[in-house]
Protein backbone atom coordinates (compact mmCIF):
# COMPACT_ATOMS: atom_id res chain seq x y z
CA UNK A 1 0.00 0.00 0.00
CA UNK A 2 2.95 2.29 0.47
CA UNK A 3 3.68 2.08 -3.23
CA UNK A 4 0.72 4.15 -4.48
CA UNK A 5 1.54 6.89 -2.01
CA UNK A 6 5.20 6.85 -2.92
CA UNK A 7 4.18 7.06 -6.57
CA UNK A 8 1.85 9.95 -5.82
CA UNK A 9 4.58 11.81 -3.98
CA UNK A 10 6.98 11.27 -6.87
CA UNK A 11 4.56 12.09 -9.67
CA UNK A 12 3.20 15.31 -8.29
CA UNK A 13 6.53 17.13 -8.03
CA UNK A 14 7.50 15.67 -11.42
CA UNK A 15 4.38 17.14 -12.94
CA UNK A 16 5.08 20.40 -11.25
CA UNK A 17 8.20 20.92 -13.29
CA UNK A 18 6.17 21.40 -16.43
CA UNK A 19 2.90 22.63 -15.03
CA UNK A 20 4.06 24.70 -12.12
CA UNK A 21 1.51 27.41 -12.57
CA UNK A 22 -1.43 25.09 -12.97
CA UNK A 23 -0.76 22.25 -10.57
CA UNK A 24 -2.42 22.29 -7.20
CA UNK A 25 -1.17 20.37 -4.15
CA UNK A 26 -2.65 19.99 -0.75
CA UNK A 27 -2.03 18.32 2.56
CA UNK A 28 -4.72 18.08 5.21
CA UNK A 29 -5.27 16.45 8.57
CA UNK A 30 -8.60 15.67 10.15
CA UNK A 31 -10.85 12.96 11.46
CA UNK A 32 -12.92 10.23 9.86
CA UNK A 33 -15.85 8.21 11.15
CA UNK A 34 -17.65 5.25 9.61
CA UNK A 35 -20.87 3.31 9.98
CA UNK A 36 -20.95 -0.31 11.20
CA UNK A 37 -18.55 -2.67 9.47
CA UNK A 38 -20.64 -5.66 10.35
CA UNK A 39 -23.81 -6.80 12.06
CA UNK A 40 -23.79 -10.38 13.33
CA UNK A 41 -26.03 -12.46 15.54
CA UNK A 42 -24.71 -15.14 17.89
CA UNK A 43 -27.42 -15.50 20.52
CA UNK A 44 -27.65 -11.68 20.67
CA UNK A 45 -26.72 -8.96 18.18
CA UNK A 46 -23.07 -8.05 17.71
CA UNK A 47 -21.94 -5.01 15.78
CA UNK A 48 -18.41 -4.14 14.70
CA UNK A 49 -17.41 -0.55 14.13
CA UNK A 50 -14.32 1.54 13.59
CA UNK A 51 -13.65 4.29 16.09
CA UNK A 52 -13.33 7.86 14.85
CA UNK A 53 -9.75 7.99 13.62
CA UNK A 54 -7.19 10.66 12.74
CA UNK A 55 -6.84 11.23 9.03
CA UNK A 56 -4.05 12.38 6.74
CA UNK A 57 -4.96 13.50 3.22
CA UNK A 58 -2.59 14.32 0.39
CA UNK A 59 -3.54 15.17 -3.15
CA UNK A 60 -3.05 17.19 -6.23
CA UNK A 61 -4.91 18.24 -9.34
CA UNK A 62 -4.48 19.67 -12.81
CA UNK A 63 -6.79 22.03 -14.66
CA UNK A 64 -9.20 20.77 -17.32
CA UNK A 65 -11.46 23.53 -18.67
CA UNK A 66 -14.02 26.00 -17.42
CA UNK A 67 -12.76 25.75 -13.82
CA UNK A 68 -12.88 21.97 -13.65
CA UNK A 69 -9.90 20.06 -12.34
CA UNK A 70 -8.86 16.39 -12.34
CA UNK A 71 -6.63 14.96 -9.68
CA UNK A 72 -5.55 12.22 -7.40
CA UNK A 73 -6.27 12.11 -3.67
CA UNK A 74 -4.92 9.66 -1.14
CA UNK A 75 -5.76 9.34 2.50
CA UNK A 76 -4.54 7.34 5.41
CA UNK A 77 -6.20 6.73 8.76
CA UNK A 78 -5.33 4.57 11.72
CA UNK A 79 -7.53 3.83 14.70
CA UNK A 80 -9.18 1.17 16.74
CA UNK A 81 -12.16 -0.97 15.97
CA UNK A 82 -14.43 -2.71 18.41
CA UNK A 83 -17.38 -5.02 18.75
CA UNK A 84 -20.46 -4.24 20.81
CA UNK A 85 -22.68 -6.93 22.27
CA UNK A 86 -25.46 -6.18 24.77
CA UNK A 87 -23.92 -2.75 25.36
CA UNK A 88 -20.47 -4.15 26.17
CA UNK A 89 -17.62 -3.00 23.95
CA UNK A 90 -14.60 -5.16 23.16
CA UNK A 91 -11.46 -3.76 21.63
CA UNK A 92 -10.60 -5.72 18.49
CA UNK A 93 -7.28 -4.05 17.76
CA UNK A 94 -5.96 -1.48 15.35
CA UNK A 95 -7.26 -0.99 11.85
CA UNK A 96 -5.58 1.22 9.27
CA UNK A 97 -7.29 2.24 6.08
CA UNK A 98 -5.79 3.87 3.02
CA UNK A 99 -7.55 5.07 -0.07
CA UNK A 100 -6.53 6.37 -3.44
CA UNK A 101 -9.09 8.09 -5.65
CA UNK A 102 -9.08 9.73 -9.05
CA UNK A 103 -11.14 12.84 -8.67
CA UNK A 104 -12.92 15.61 -10.49
CA UNK A 105 -13.74 18.99 -8.96
CA UNK A 106 -15.50 22.12 -10.07
CA UNK A 107 -16.59 25.53 -8.79
CA UNK A 108 -19.71 26.17 -6.72
CA UNK A 109 -18.88 29.65 -5.50
CA UNK A 110 -15.72 31.74 -5.40
CA UNK A 111 -14.11 29.88 -2.47
CA UNK A 112 -16.11 26.66 -2.56
CA UNK A 113 -15.72 23.72 -4.91
CA UNK A 114 -17.48 20.40 -5.29
CA UNK A 115 -15.44 17.23 -5.41
CA UNK A 116 -16.14 13.67 -6.51
CA UNK A 117 -13.82 10.69 -6.63
CA UNK A 118 -13.63 7.04 -7.48
CA UNK A 119 -10.93 4.63 -6.43
CA UNK A 120 -9.89 1.91 -4.03
CA UNK A 121 -9.98 1.55 -0.28
CA UNK A 122 -7.49 -0.72 1.43
CA UNK A 123 -8.16 -2.23 4.85
CA UNK A 124 -4.86 -2.88 6.60
CA UNK A 125 -5.42 -4.54 10.00
CA UNK A 126 -2.48 -4.54 12.37
CA UNK A 127 -3.11 -8.18 13.28
CA UNK A 128 -4.46 -10.94 11.05
CA UNK A 129 -7.13 -12.23 13.41
CA UNK A 130 -10.89 -12.31 13.88
CA UNK A 131 -12.75 -10.95 10.87
CA UNK A 132 -9.35 -10.20 9.28
CA UNK A 133 -7.88 -13.66 9.95
CA UNK A 134 -7.10 -14.05 6.24
CA UNK A 135 -5.76 -10.51 5.99
CA UNK A 136 -7.10 -7.16 4.86
CA UNK A 137 -9.27 -6.40 1.89
CA UNK A 138 -9.50 -3.94 -0.99
CA UNK A 139 -12.85 -2.34 -1.88
CA UNK A 140 -14.17 -0.06 -4.58
CA UNK A 141 -14.77 3.40 -3.16
CA UNK A 142 -16.88 6.32 -4.40
CA UNK A 143 -16.92 9.70 -2.72
CA UNK A 144 -18.28 13.21 -2.91
CA UNK A 145 -17.47 16.36 -0.98
CA UNK A 146 -16.80 20.05 -0.87
CA UNK A 147 -13.63 22.07 -0.45
CA UNK A 148 -13.46 25.55 0.98
CA UNK A 149 -10.33 27.59 0.45
CA UNK A 150 -9.18 30.90 1.84
CA UNK A 151 -6.00 32.67 0.86
CA UNK A 152 -3.60 33.07 3.77
CA UNK A 153 -0.31 33.72 1.95
CA UNK A 154 0.57 34.76 -1.60
CA UNK A 155 0.69 31.16 -2.83
CA UNK A 156 -0.86 29.27 0.06
CA UNK A 157 -4.51 28.68 0.89
CA UNK A 158 -6.13 27.36 4.02
CA UNK A 159 -8.24 24.42 2.84
CA UNK A 160 -11.13 22.79 4.66
CA UNK A 161 -12.78 19.72 3.20
CA UNK A 162 -15.88 17.74 3.99
CA UNK A 163 -16.12 14.29 2.44
CA UNK A 164 -18.62 11.47 2.25
CA UNK A 165 -17.73 8.16 0.71
CA UNK A 166 -19.34 4.78 0.31
CA UNK A 167 -18.12 1.24 -0.20
CA UNK A 168 -19.24 -2.29 0.42
CA UNK A 169 -17.32 -4.28 3.03
CA UNK A 170 -16.55 -7.95 3.48
CA UNK A 171 -13.41 -10.02 4.04
CA UNK A 172 -12.18 -13.42 2.90
CA UNK A 173 -12.63 -14.70 6.46
CA UNK A 174 -16.25 -13.53 6.61
CA UNK A 175 -16.97 -15.19 3.27
CA UNK A 176 -15.33 -18.40 4.49
CA UNK A 177 -17.54 -18.29 7.59
CA UNK A 178 -20.70 -18.13 5.49
CA UNK A 179 -21.48 -14.43 5.63
CA UNK A 180 -23.44 -13.51 2.54
CA UNK A 181 -23.52 -10.26 0.54
CA UNK A 182 -21.49 -7.37 1.90
CA UNK A 183 -22.10 -4.44 4.22
CA UNK A 184 -22.66 -0.96 2.83
CA UNK A 185 -20.41 1.47 4.70
CA UNK A 186 -20.70 5.21 4.79
CA UNK A 187 -17.77 7.30 5.95
CA UNK A 188 -17.65 11.00 6.76
CA UNK A 189 -14.52 13.05 7.20
CA UNK A 190 -13.60 16.60 8.00
CA UNK A 191 -10.10 17.85 7.41
CA UNK A 192 -8.14 21.05 7.33
CA UNK A 193 -4.78 21.88 5.81
CA UNK A 194 -2.82 23.90 3.33
CA UNK A 195 -3.05 24.00 -0.43
CA UNK A 196 -0.57 25.51 -2.80
CA UNK A 197 -1.29 26.27 -6.40
CA UNK A 198 -4.18 27.65 -8.35
CA UNK A 199 -6.35 30.59 -7.45
Amino acid sequence: MRKPFALLMLLLPAGAASLTAQTDYYLRIGAIGASNLLRDGIVSEITVRQSIAPLLVVGGSLPLRQGYRAGLEGNLSSGGFHSTESGVETDLGTLRTASLQLDLSGPIARQIRWWMGLGGLFYLPKDDEGIFLQGGTTRLLAGIGTDWRMAVLPRWDLMTSLRYDFHRFTTEELKARGFGQSQGISRFSLSIGLARGHR
Partner: protein
Protein backbone atom coordinates in the same frame (compact mmCIF):
# COMPACT_ATOMS: atom_id res chain seq x y z
CA UNK B 1 -18.45 6.19 -25.99
CA UNK B 2 -21.18 8.80 -26.24
CA UNK B 3 -22.50 10.82 -23.31
CA UNK B 4 -25.57 8.63 -22.82
CA UNK B 5 -23.45 5.47 -22.51
CA UNK B 6 -21.14 7.22 -20.08
CA UNK B 7 -24.02 8.25 -17.80
CA UNK B 8 -25.53 4.75 -17.99
CA UNK B 9 -22.14 3.37 -16.96
CA UNK B 10 -21.91 5.73 -13.99
CA UNK B 11 -25.51 4.93 -12.98
CA UNK B 12 -24.80 1.20 -13.22
CA UNK B 13 -21.73 1.54 -11.04
CA UNK B 14 -23.63 3.50 -8.41
CA UNK B 15 -26.46 0.96 -8.49
CA UNK B 16 -23.95 -1.84 -7.93
CA UNK B 17 -22.45 0.04 -5.00
CA UNK B 18 -25.68 1.08 -3.35
CA UNK B 19 -28.23 -1.46 -4.45
CA UNK B 20 -27.20 -4.65 -2.62
CA UNK B 21 -28.64 -5.56 0.74
CA UNK B 22 -26.58 -5.58 3.92
CA UNK B 23 -24.27 -8.38 4.94
CA UNK B 24 -26.11 -11.47 6.14
CA UNK B 25 -24.74 -13.44 9.07
CA UNK B 26 -24.69 -17.23 8.90
CA UNK B 27 -27.09 -19.27 11.01
CA UNK B 28 -25.21 -20.90 13.85
CA UNK B 29 -27.58 -23.73 14.57
CA UNK B 30 -25.18 -26.50 13.56
CA UNK B 31 -23.62 -27.54 16.86
CA UNK B 32 -23.42 -30.34 19.40
CA UNK B 33 -24.12 -30.44 23.13
CA UNK B 34 -21.21 -29.00 25.10
CA UNK B 35 -22.82 -28.79 28.54
CA UNK B 36 -22.39 -31.38 31.24
CA UNK B 37 -25.48 -32.65 33.05
CA UNK B 38 -24.74 -34.06 36.49
CA UNK B 39 -26.87 -35.12 39.48
CA UNK B 40 -27.82 -32.01 41.42
CA UNK B 41 -25.53 -31.17 44.31
CA UNK B 42 -28.47 -29.99 46.39
CA UNK B 43 -31.91 -31.68 46.29
CA UNK B 44 -32.95 -33.88 43.40
CA UNK B 45 -32.77 -33.40 39.66
CA UNK B 46 -29.90 -32.34 37.45
CA UNK B 47 -27.34 -29.56 37.42
CA UNK B 48 -26.40 -28.13 34.03
CA UNK B 49 -22.74 -27.18 33.90
CA UNK B 50 -21.66 -24.61 31.34
CA UNK B 51 -18.67 -22.30 31.39
CA UNK B 52 -16.65 -19.95 29.29
CA UNK B 53 -13.72 -17.83 30.31
CA UNK B 54 -14.98 -14.30 30.99
CA UNK B 55 -13.31 -11.48 29.09
CA UNK B 56 -12.07 -10.03 32.37
CA UNK B 57 -10.04 -13.22 32.97
CA UNK B 58 -8.28 -13.19 29.60
CA UNK B 59 -5.69 -14.10 28.61
CA UNK B 60 -5.98 -17.55 30.16
CA UNK B 61 -2.59 -18.52 31.61
CA UNK B 62 -1.40 -21.94 30.47
CA UNK B 63 1.62 -23.69 31.95
CA UNK B 64 2.94 -26.67 30.00
CA UNK B 65 5.50 -29.22 31.20
CA UNK B 66 8.55 -29.20 28.95
CA UNK B 67 8.44 -32.77 27.74
CA UNK B 68 7.76 -34.69 24.49
CA UNK B 69 7.32 -31.41 22.60
CA UNK B 70 4.17 -30.43 24.50
CA UNK B 71 5.00 -26.70 24.79
CA UNK B 72 4.99 -26.36 21.00
CA UNK B 73 1.84 -28.47 20.68
CA UNK B 74 -0.03 -26.28 23.17
CA UNK B 75 1.28 -23.07 21.64
CA UNK B 76 -0.26 -24.26 18.39
CA UNK B 77 -3.44 -25.42 20.11
CA UNK B 78 -3.89 -21.98 21.70
CA UNK B 79 -3.47 -20.32 18.31
CA UNK B 80 -5.95 -22.68 16.68
CA UNK B 81 -8.70 -22.13 19.24
CA UNK B 82 -8.03 -18.40 19.24
CA UNK B 83 -8.46 -18.30 15.47
CA UNK B 84 -11.92 -19.85 15.75
CA UNK B 85 -13.33 -16.66 17.27
CA UNK B 86 -14.30 -13.56 15.33
CA UNK B 87 -14.56 -11.07 18.20
CA UNK B 88 -11.65 -11.83 20.55
CA UNK B 89 -13.85 -13.91 22.84
CA UNK B 90 -10.87 -16.04 23.89
CA UNK B 91 -7.18 -15.47 24.40
CA UNK B 92 -4.54 -17.53 26.16
CA UNK B 93 -0.82 -17.41 26.68
CA UNK B 94 1.80 -19.80 27.92
CA UNK B 95 3.40 -18.84 31.20
CA UNK B 96 6.72 -19.99 32.62
CA UNK B 97 5.58 -20.42 36.21
CA UNK B 98 2.91 -22.96 37.12
CA UNK B 99 2.04 -20.98 40.24
CA UNK B 100 -1.00 -18.90 39.34
CA UNK B 101 -1.59 -20.72 36.04
CA UNK B 102 -5.21 -21.27 35.03
CA UNK B 103 -4.41 -24.45 33.12
CA UNK B 104 -1.61 -26.84 34.03
CA UNK B 105 -0.53 -29.37 31.43
CA UNK B 106 1.50 -32.41 32.42
CA UNK B 107 3.11 -34.87 30.06
CA UNK B 108 2.65 -37.83 32.31
CA UNK B 109 -0.22 -40.00 33.46
CA UNK B 110 -2.91 -38.58 35.70
CA UNK B 111 -2.91 -39.28 39.43
CA UNK B 112 -5.19 -42.13 40.40
CA UNK B 113 -7.27 -40.39 43.02
CA UNK B 114 -9.57 -37.47 42.42
CA UNK B 115 -10.68 -35.11 45.12
CA UNK B 116 -13.52 -33.02 43.79
CA UNK B 117 -12.59 -32.95 40.15
CA UNK B 118 -14.56 -34.36 37.26
CA UNK B 119 -12.29 -36.22 34.89
CA UNK B 120 -12.96 -36.16 31.16
CA UNK B 121 -11.25 -39.13 29.54
CA UNK B 122 -10.61 -38.68 25.89
CA UNK B 123 -8.27 -39.06 22.98
CA UNK B 124 -8.07 -42.78 23.46
CA UNK B 125 -5.67 -43.50 20.63
CA UNK B 126 -3.04 -46.15 20.69
CA UNK B 127 -0.16 -43.62 20.58
CA UNK B 128 -1.27 -41.29 23.39
CA UNK B 129 -4.17 -40.41 25.70
CA UNK B 130 -5.46 -37.25 27.25
CA UNK B 131 -7.47 -36.41 30.34
CA UNK B 132 -8.78 -33.14 31.71
CA UNK B 133 -9.72 -32.63 35.35
CA UNK B 134 -12.28 -29.93 36.05
CA UNK B 135 -13.27 -28.79 39.56
CA UNK B 136 -16.85 -27.52 39.87
CA UNK B 137 -16.78 -27.02 43.65
CA UNK B 138 -19.09 -28.66 46.15
CA UNK B 139 -22.33 -27.21 44.83
CA UNK B 140 -21.69 -27.27 41.07
CA UNK B 141 -21.68 -23.48 40.80
CA UNK B 142 -17.94 -22.82 40.48
CA UNK B 143 -15.24 -23.37 37.91
CA UNK B 144 -12.11 -23.60 39.99
CA UNK B 145 -8.66 -23.16 38.57
CA UNK B 146 -6.28 -24.60 37.80
CA UNK B 147 -7.70 -26.94 35.22
CA UNK B 148 -5.36 -29.93 34.98
CA UNK B 149 -4.61 -31.62 31.69
CA UNK B 150 -2.68 -34.87 31.46
CA UNK B 151 -1.23 -36.01 28.16
CA UNK B 152 0.27 -39.50 28.26
CA UNK B 153 2.49 -40.75 25.41
CA UNK B 154 1.94 -44.47 24.91
CA UNK B 155 4.03 -45.12 21.81
CA UNK B 156 7.82 -45.05 21.57
CA UNK B 157 9.29 -41.58 20.94
CA UNK B 158 10.25 -42.55 17.39
CA UNK B 159 6.77 -43.82 16.53
CA UNK B 160 5.50 -41.88 13.51
CA UNK B 161 2.00 -41.61 14.95
CA UNK B 162 3.04 -40.14 18.29
CA UNK B 163 3.67 -36.60 17.07
CA UNK B 164 0.33 -36.42 15.31
CA UNK B 165 -1.44 -37.89 18.33
CA UNK B 166 0.13 -35.39 20.74
CA UNK B 167 -0.73 -32.47 18.45
CA UNK B 168 -4.41 -33.28 18.04
CA UNK B 169 -4.82 -34.42 21.65
CA UNK B 170 -3.45 -31.06 22.79
CA UNK B 171 -6.14 -29.26 20.76
CA UNK B 172 -8.81 -31.65 22.02
CA UNK B 173 -7.94 -31.33 25.73
CA UNK B 174 -7.59 -27.55 25.49
CA UNK B 175 -11.09 -27.62 23.96
CA UNK B 176 -12.35 -29.14 27.23
CA UNK B 177 -10.46 -26.55 29.28
CA UNK B 178 -12.03 -23.65 27.41
CA UNK B 179 -15.59 -24.89 27.82
CA UNK B 180 -16.55 -27.89 25.68
CA UNK B 181 -17.28 -30.30 28.51
CA UNK B 182 -18.63 -33.11 26.33
CA UNK B 183 -17.54 -35.09 23.35
CA UNK B 184 -18.95 -34.60 19.91
CA UNK B 185 -20.82 -37.61 18.51
CA UNK B 186 -19.20 -37.01 15.09
CA UNK B 187 -15.88 -38.56 14.14
CA UNK B 188 -15.15 -35.58 11.91
CA UNK B 189 -14.88 -33.22 14.90
CA UNK B 190 -11.76 -32.60 16.97
CA UNK B 191 -13.92 -32.98 20.09
CA UNK B 192 -14.90 -36.54 19.17
CA UNK B 193 -13.81 -38.88 22.01
CA UNK B 194 -11.22 -40.51 19.82
CA UNK B 195 -10.34 -37.72 17.39
CA UNK B 196 -8.96 -38.52 13.99
CA UNK B 197 -9.06 -35.04 12.45
CA UNK B 198 -6.27 -32.61 13.25
CA UNK B 199 -8.18 -29.31 13.33
CA UNK B 200 -11.52 -28.06 14.68
CA UNK B 201 -14.33 -28.70 12.21
CA UNK B 202 -17.13 -26.30 11.27
CA UNK B 203 -19.25 -28.02 13.92
CA UNK B 204 -16.54 -27.53 16.58
CA UNK B 205 -16.25 -23.88 15.57
CA UNK B 206 -20.00 -23.34 15.64
CA UNK B 207 -20.26 -24.96 19.07
CA UNK B 208 -17.48 -22.94 20.71
CA UNK B 209 -18.72 -19.70 19.12
CA UNK B 210 -22.20 -20.19 20.54
CA UNK B 211 -21.03 -21.33 23.96
CA UNK B 212 -19.01 -18.12 24.36
CA UNK B 213 -22.20 -16.11 23.87
CA UNK B 214 -24.46 -18.11 26.19
CA UNK B 215 -24.45 -17.08 29.87
CA UNK B 216 -22.45 -19.68 31.86
CA UNK B 217 -23.88 -21.50 34.86
CA UNK B 218 -20.48 -21.68 36.55
CA UNK B 219 -18.56 -18.81 38.11
CA UNK B 220 -14.78 -18.60 37.72
CA UNK B 221 -12.94 -19.01 41.01
CA UNK B 222 -9.21 -18.51 41.02
CA UNK B 223 -7.20 -19.50 44.12
Amino acid sequence: MNARCRWFGIAGLLAALLGCSDISAPLRDDLYEWRLFVPAAVGGGTDTLSFHWPRSALPVRVWVEDTVGLPADFERAIGIWKSVFLYREFEAQRVSDSVGADVIVRGSGSPGSLLRATRLHSALRSECTGETDLDFGDDNTEFRTPVRIFITPLAAPDDAGLRECLALTSIHELGHAIGIFRHSPNATDIMFANPVVDLPSALDRGTIEVLYHVPPTLRLVRP
